[in-house]
């Protein structure tokens, strides 16, 4: 689905990433982990198009997307969520998801102001689809609440519903469990598995080890901007280099 080939990223004299290569398999859940400062967020930003890579290439389904801006990648089906939830706070929960359906609809200024018949039916379709997505993440009862008043956990669920509205092929999540309590995290784990079951590939950067070990099919471990290890959660748990990086040498 997504391939990173020899990704390197330098900021001035600082090398943030070097020689990162791995594949995110179609239909899998891939976790990117590593101690603080390992370069996880930088890698995430390179993958989503916030920064271009200094060296190497990002391939999506075999196509080089290294130079594509975030909105272009979104159209190809690479959609992201933010670590610090970016919702439209003054709009309702339902409207937030409806904005997510923007690319799946087309009514412009004229059709909207004159309420053309096709615009009205499109509007109904958008509303129904948005409600389905709210039901999918389990917050449909909050549809008419102002998004800015949601708790952090519910806001995260809304952000996921909104991202799902773009019909992603690959969903990239930046620390989805950050700021969630343990029951919310358990709920999130179930949700991510259900997203995978819909055939959507998921990749996440995460600190919460329990979550990562529970849901991921494949893990990539970063340390100091390089790849330390790659494998299944079980392999990673037994990997001496990883244990040393996390716990330090004896």
């Amino acid at each position: 689905m997504l391939s990173l080939n020899g990704i390197g990223k330098r900021f001035g004299g600082l090398t943030a990433l070097e020689g990162i290569s791995f594949n995110v398999g179609k239909g899998s859940i891939t976790g990117i982990i590593g101690p603080n400062g390992a370069g996880k967020t930088t890698l995430f930003n390179v993958a989503t198009g916030i920064y271009p890579p200094s060296t190497g290439a990002v391939l999506m389904e075999g196509r080089d997307i290294s130079k594509l801006p975030p909105e272009g990648r979104a159209r190809l089906g690479l959609v992201r969520t933010f670590q610090n939830i970016e919702l439209f706070g003054k709009m309702t929960v339902l409207e937030n998801v409806m904005v997510g359906l923007h690319t799946r609809s087309s009514s412009g200024l004229f059709a909207c102001s004159f309420r053309m018949p096709w615009q009205m039916s499109e509007e109904r379709r958008i509303r129904e689809r948005a409600l389905e997505l709210l039901e999918f993440v389990g917050i449909s009862e909050l549809a008419d609440v102002q998004a800015g008043t949601l708790s952090f956990g519910k806001g995260r669920l809304l952000e996921i519903a909104r991202a799902m509205a773009l019909e992603p092929k690959l969903l990239l999540m930046d620390e989805p469990a950050a700021g969630l309590n343990s029951s919310e995290t358990a709920e999130l784990a179930e949700l991510i598995k259900r997203i995978r079951d819909l055939g959507i590939t998921v990749a996440l950067v995460e600190h919460d080890m329990d979550l990562v070990m529970d849901i991921c099919d494949q893990l990539v471990v970063l340390n100091l901007g390089t790849m330390l290890a790659e494998g299944t959660p079980r392999e990673i748990q037994d990997n001496q280099a990883v244990i040393t990086a996390y716990l330090g040498e004896e």
Binding site: L87, F88, G89, K90, G100, H102, S107, G108, E123
Partner: protein, 321 residues
């Protein structure tokens, strides 16, 4: 949806009934200008209240509409209706062209750029004496007419202007509750997130800027035919600020708030005549009080006041029981 339609119908009914008891007096004349200012305030509110993009140059589009119609119907004897449409389209095109560079700016820079456009256009009105008559103004503009019906009295002009205003209100209500309106509000809340959602923020900002210029130009054409005389002073920077005050007081991001603001700020100067030159102090106090106590404007203030009164009553009922 249903209640929105009902609200609009009630509002339209009130608009049509209001002048009946006034029998064409002075107040009817003032209400004609409330209608014109409503269109201008509404245009600015779509831009600022919904999309979050400020413009301090709205008076320029208003003036271009007025002078465009005024010049074409006097010097070139063009049909006023044809002139109105032609001028509005040209002003919209002008706004569309300057919109792309200007709306790349944000916040104070955007305010300064639109202010600059307003000032330059106003200077042009003063300096192109051959066309506009310069500072002494342009007179002899004909009234609008449909067949043998000439809009030459306050009452006729009232219905003429408010037909246009109601049309714009209806279209704006449709617009803000649609895919396009949601896109605008999303840009207002978080432009980054809107972009990631695939909203074409740059184009939509220019589109709504163009729309507000188009509405202002129509209002300007109507204004020149109602007044039959125009001068550059009516389209100065001062008027752009007055429009801004209207929507801040009425309610940013509220269609009916724009109308309420236009009503208040058009009636107020008439009521403040007794204060003479001190009316500016009352304006200032009003603006300060509003921004401190009612930052959402009157349109947001009424429901909030209502909510505050309801639980208070419940509490007293509780204590009685």
């Amino acid at each position: 949806m249903k209640s929105d339609k009902l609200k609009f119908l009630v509002f339209a009914l009130v608009v049509f009934l209001v002048p009946l008891p006034l029998s064409g007096g002075y107040l009817t004349n003032v209400l004609v200008f409330v209608g014109i200012n409503s269109m201008l305030a509404l245009g600015l509110n779509l831009l600022l209240g919904y999309a979050g993009q400020i413009s301090l140059g709205q008076a320029a589009f208003f003036g271009l509409g007025a002078y465009g119609s005024g010049v074409l119907t006097t010097l070139y004897a063009m049909n006023p209706w044809v002139a109105m449409i032609l001028v509005a389209l040209c002003v919209a095109l002008f706004a569309f062209a300057i919109g792309f560079p200007v709306l790349r700016l944000k916040g104070h820079y955007l305010a300064m750029a639109t202010l600059g456009v307003g000032v330059i256009v106003n200077i042009a009105f003063n300096e192109t004496v051959d066309l506009t008559g310069g500072p002494s103004g342009l007179s002899g503009i004909p009234n609008l007419a449909i067949g043998s019906l000439t809009f030459d009295s306050d009452l006729k002009n009232y219905y003429l202007v408010w037909c246009f205003a109601l049309g714009m209100i209806l279209l704006s209500l449709n617009l803000v509750n649609s895919r396009f309106g949601r896109g605008l509000r999303a840009i207002h809340d978080s432009e980054v997130a809107a972009r990631v959602m695939g909203v074409n923020a740059r184009l939509m900002k220019v589109q709504v800027f163009t729309l507000s210029a188009f509405m202002s130009a129509i209002a300007g054409s109507l204004y020149c035919h109602v007044m039959t005389f125009i001068s550059p002073a009516s389209f100065s920077f001062h008027f752009s600020v007055e429009l801004l005050t209207m929507i801040v007081i009425g309610g940013l991001g509220s269609v009916y708030g724009s109308i309420l603001g236009a009503l208040l700020l058009t009636l107020l100067p008439e009521m403040l005549r007794t204060f003479q030159d001190y009316d500016i102090i009352v304006y200032g106090l009003l603006l300060i009080t509003m921004t401190i106590y009612l930052p959402g404007g009157l349109a947001a203030g009424f429901p909030a006041l209502f909510r505050r009164l309801i639980p208070a009553r419940k509490a007293t009922e509780g204590s009685n029981a």
